[in-house]
Subunit: 313 residues, 2 copies
């Protein structure tokens, strides 16, 4: 007796991980390969085929329902990765066409945040929900908005750029060239940036000072967990900006829950409690005390594979 | 030969208008009654039945597919009007239950902005569009967000409160009790408020000064159309705040078009040209030069009835 399976592929800046997943969201085989180190994108896809073809044959191609791929700037409609700043290749990469033809399986692509949202809906914290927002707090801030049980891709497939909503008018410069984007504050890199700025401006005593220049979101999280006031204030500041912006997002899609995913979300209540407080303080009264803030329920290491795989059902 | 018909009812603060509408969006009979002047909400509904029952009988109840009602704070899910500040009644009004039972027809309710969005999709500027935003610029700012061809009602039916997105952090006081809402700037009342503030602060020569205290959005529009620099600057200021906020909304739902409806939208290009400019200036590069800004294509006087009627199909 065979069970229906899908193949999930997560194309990250450094590694590409993949797994064969069943309906219950169990990964029954997995592996990874480097994303970098290939001379051309064609070489990368050739290497991918060499790894994946035997895996697929092992389960029997007829048992694999399809391939789901999550990638930065992956476009669901065109099947292309479009100008992804964190990947080694420039321009437009026809992922669905190339991988689909190489593997001979129906292939679907979306960006990593949308993949995570679909993963949460299939196997995670959003099971049974029809209206929610998934927010990824990693190197950048990404998001997937689900309404009426469907992912909002928008007219061109690029919807859900929460990270580039202007959170602070005329604020900090963002990698996108504009100023004050949420991503410049509420990402793992954003909170580190705040930490370094404050260390320059203040004499506050904090264990983070010893790591100046090498601070990470994880170090801030660890310091805050030990009660370091400077680190706690960093979370409070970051949470205020995130909470204010989320209050505005709630006014638009009125979600049942907002689910947090990614490195900075690992901080859990240290981040989510103040985010919740500021979101409620800034919210229109009809939305108050309704929206759940949840952490991702996808197992950490496998979340990206599960998210990508969920696309293929 | 009979054609399928629906009944559209628009409950406004002063008048309730209604019409019998065919599939092509033609109003083949219409009328209105006062919303105010009834001792109780029950009296209002009794008066409504006295007016509508003969109209329905005239066309034959069997030919009327249903009743669509647009009302401020109308909730699609519960069929209730919930705490509408501009209606004469307080609290929760079970509109769908009351009207549905009184008329013996399937009845659907939504807020006026959502009704307008559905109207544009059925008969107007959004025909054939699956992803768009309708923005009403009237006494307040309302909105209807459509994604994947479906209205976004959100988990509780209250989605689409664009007017209460914070456009100016710590800005002007809004009727909702918070500060800096888009509605406090970009509505017909918002632009009048700006005009009055500026007239107090400046000595600029403008034909509006003669009307101080009695300024309306229409007067500002007329002055701007004649080239009054003060009035043009009012449009520019209002457009900047609206354009900035819309750029953020585009990042979330990536619409094909944004359609403007309501009193202030009558200003047409005087408003929409600068809105477009500021929206583009503030937009993430992947969204630039893609989103159409359009004026409502529903005939003015009948737009609300058509919007409400579209719900009933």
């Amino acid at each position: 007796m065979t069970q229906p399976l899908v193949l999930g592929i997560d194309i990250g800046g450094t590694n590409t991980s993949f797994g064969v997943v069943n309906r219950r969201g169990e990964i029954i085989a997995k592996g990874s390969m480097p994303t970098t180190g290939h001379d051309t994108v064609e070489d990368y896809f050739t290497a991918m085929k060499q790894v994946l073809a035997p895996l697929i044959d092992g389960f029997g191609k007829e048992n694999i329902n399809g391939v789901g791929i999550g990638a930065p700037n992956g476009n669901f409609f065109t099947g292309e990765i479009v100008f992804a700043p964190n990947l080694p290749w420039r321009g437009v990469i026809p992922v669905v066409k190339t991988v689909g033809e190489a593997l001979g399986l129906k292939t679907t692509l979306t960006n990593d945040a949308n993949a995570a949202a679909i993963g949460e809906m299939m196997y995670g914290a959003a099971k049974g929900m029809k209206d929610f927002i998934l927010v990824t707090l990693g190197t950048g801030v990404g998001s997937g908005f689900v309404a009426n049980g469907q992912m909002i891709y928008g007219h061109d497939g690029f919807a859900g750029e929460l990270g580039h909503v202007i959170a602070v008018r005329d604020g900090r410069k963002c990698g996108c060239g504009r100023s004050g984007c949420l991503e410049a504050y509420a990402s793992a890199t954003g909170i580190v940036r705040t930490a370094n700025e404050w260390l320059d401006q203040r004499n506050t005593d904090t264990e983070l000072r010893a790591n100046k220049g090498k601070i990470t979101a994880k170090l801030i999280h660890e310091a805050a967990a030990k009660g370091d006031l400077f680190a706690l204030e960093l979370f409070d500041f970051t949470a205020k900006i995130l909470g204010q912006t989320l209050a505005d997002m709630v006014a638009i899609t009125s979600p049942e829950a907002i689910i947090f995913f990614g490195g900075l979300a690992q901080a859990g209540d240290l981040l989510l409690k103040p985010v919740h407080k500021y979101m409620e303080e800034n919210m229109l009264n009809i939305f108050q005390n309704k929206v759940l803030l949840l952490q991702s329920a996808l197992p950490d290491a496998d979340a990206a594979i599960l998210g990508a795989s969920a696309l293929a059902w």
